[in-house]
């Protein structure tokens, strides 16, 4: 067995072919190579700013009468988010700018430390960073806010892929969050859940009529698109219109150089690097691809973004469904899909009778259902039944949909 180095098979192209002078101004010495192009520092900043501005939505689309349109920034504190916030501040909160273009501008930070062991709370650091910019407000949320235990939370039994309802015994939001993550079958599912909860919290906190900017850079976008396909999230490759990713054409390398030269202080990623997850493996693949074939990653991202799924037409499948867990659009009939695409056996009929009417699988998108049930559990006497408390919004959506399904039978008692 030969173990050729990749270079022997596919020779890497030279990094650049235009000498060491900036290809834009043609006078200053180059300091950074971006996809075969040589930039000096000044021209690099100009290039990043212009790519950012090109992706920003037109404020006119969000104007309310007598009011400046507001802008939300999903601020994770990470590399892309730090670059994004800096670009927003420099573009819309410039010293001496005549009139605010967007007002207010609010950064939403979700503290996720409760999801990990030994990860420190970063709220103080984030406050320092955001307050360092003039005129940007900060809203701090916590991942456990997703599990408000004031109204009892529902729970799902993961032992059955129809996901029958169960009840949650978690006393506090943090308990419920930890029980939620502990019940998930794989590291991939846990990472996905943390990202889904964060996303849903920001979307719920931000004003619904304003755009929300995410700091997803090109490299991260390619990773999430490819790992999203692997998770079965193909239906959701195109986000809702109010989600904007102004860094979608700017690579991780460009972000790192920008952050270094602007002396930004991004938070390190939370939790383990995660080569045990689909995300970690995909990231490793994309980063290698990016080094050896720098134009390919943007091609991957563009191609994936063009795969616009066919949404159900209402005639064939009823009203459009929103996933009760991640709140993204979902296709009807998750279980039907799965029985058609795989050989699987359901539990005994008697069990099915017992849980019918309260199973939640059909309220979820394909990706979430897969996340909850991904590893084929070996059913046996040692198999502990896993109970997964669901977020507050999922609990209330399920209650509402259950009420809806029985409303014709409800006898109007006095209350």
């Amino acid at each position: 067995m030969s173990c050729e180095k990749p270079e022997d098979v596919m020779p890497r192209k030279p990094r650049h072919d235009r000498g060491k002078t900036c290809h834009k101004c043609k006078t200053q010495p180059g300091q950074l190579i971006v996809r075969h192009f040589v930039y000096c520092k000044d021209c690099f900043f100009a290039h990043v700013h212009s790519k950012f501005r090109r992706q920003m939505p037109a404020r006119e689309a969000y104007c309310q009468p007598e009011q400046e349109p507001s802008l939300s920034v999903a601020f994770s504190g990470g590399l892309g988010a730090s670059v994004l916030l800096d670009l927003v501040a420099r573009t819309y909160r410039r010293e001496g700018a005549r009139k605010p273009v967007w007002s207010p501008i609010t950064a939403y930070y979700v503290e996720t430390c409760a999801a990990y062991d030994g990860v420190p709370d970063a709220v103080e650091h984030v406050k320092e960073v955001v307050n360092g910019y003039r005129g940007i407000e900060l809203v701090v949320l916590r991942l456990e806010d997703a599990f408000d235990t004031q109204t009892p939370l529902l729970a799902l039994s993961l032992a059955d892929e129809r996901l029958p309802l169960s009840s949650s015994s978690s006393a506090t939001p943090t308990d419920a969050l930890r029980a939620h993550l502990a019940a998930l079958p794989t590291p991939t599912a846990r990472l996905q859940a943390i990202s889904n909860l964060t996303y849903a919290l920001v979307l719920r906190a931000a004003p619904s009529h304003a755009p929300i900017l995410f700091g997803t850079h090109l490299t991260a976008l390619a990773v999430s698109l490819i790992s999203g396909v692997a998770h079965g999230a193909g239906y959701n490759l195109t986000p809702p219109a109010r989600i904007v990713r102004p860094l979608c054409e700017i690579s991780a390398k460009e972000c790192a150089a920008y952050a270094h030269w602007r002396a930004l202080r991004p938070l390190r990623s939370r939790g383990p690097p995660g080569m045990d997850s689909v995300l970690g493996i995909t990231r490793d693949f994309i980063v290698r691809l990016d080094r050896d074939f720098p134009s390919t990653v943007s091609a991957v991202a563009r191609t994936c973004a063009k795969v616009v799924p066919k949404r159900d037409s209402s005639s064939s499948a009823g009203a459009p469904l929103t996933c009760a867990l991640c709140e993204r659009p979902a296709q009807h009939g998750v279980l039907e899909w799965k029985t058609r695409t795989a050989i699987r056996s359901f539990s005994s009929d008697s069990e099915q009778d017992k849980t019918e009417g309260t199973a939640v699988a059909e309220e979820l998108c394909y990706a979430c259902h897969t996340m909850l049930t991904s590893r084929a559990r070996v059913r046996g006497p040692s198999d502990v039944e896993q109970v997964l408390p669901v977020p507050s919004w999922t609990s209330s959506t399920i209650r509402a949909r259950m009420r809806e399904s029985v409303k014709d039978f409800i006898l109007d008692d006095e209350d």
């Binding site: 180059g30 950074l32 590399l79 150089a257 990623s269 939370r270 080094r291």
Partner: protein, 104 residues
């Protein structure tokens, strides 16, 4: 071994410092020649791996170069413009290793 040494400033950021005792800045002294050739960036990377790296070498070095996803700046210039590992180190050079993988 040459008596005359190169003094280099080395910095790790973006999370790479975690592999180097959670310390960002080092001053490193290397001989002017290594294996009968002028000391270059590849020699520095291997020296860092053998002498300063505390854990998980696979997150820093791969096949005698840095792992993909690490940006290297030589005196604030992309090392890809300087010949990457073949760049011959000079006294007083400042080398920064930045991980681009610290999340979005």
């Amino acid at each position: 071994m040459s008596s005359d040494a190169l003094a280099l400033k080395v910095e790790f950021t973006g999370g790479l410092e975690l592999l180097f005792d959670n310390k960002k800045k080092y001053t490193v002294s290397l001989p002017r020649t290594t294996d009968d050739a002028p000391t270059n960036l590849t020699h520095l990377i291997l020296w860092l791996k053998d002498n300063l790296l505390k854990e998980r070498p696979e997150l820093f070095v791969e096949e005698r170069t840095v792992r993909p996803g690490i940006l290297v700046l030589v005196n604030e210039t992309d090392w890809e413009l300087e010949g990457e590992g073949d760049y011959q180190l000079k006294d007083g050079d400042e080398i920064i290793f930045i991980s681009t993988l610290h999340g979005g």
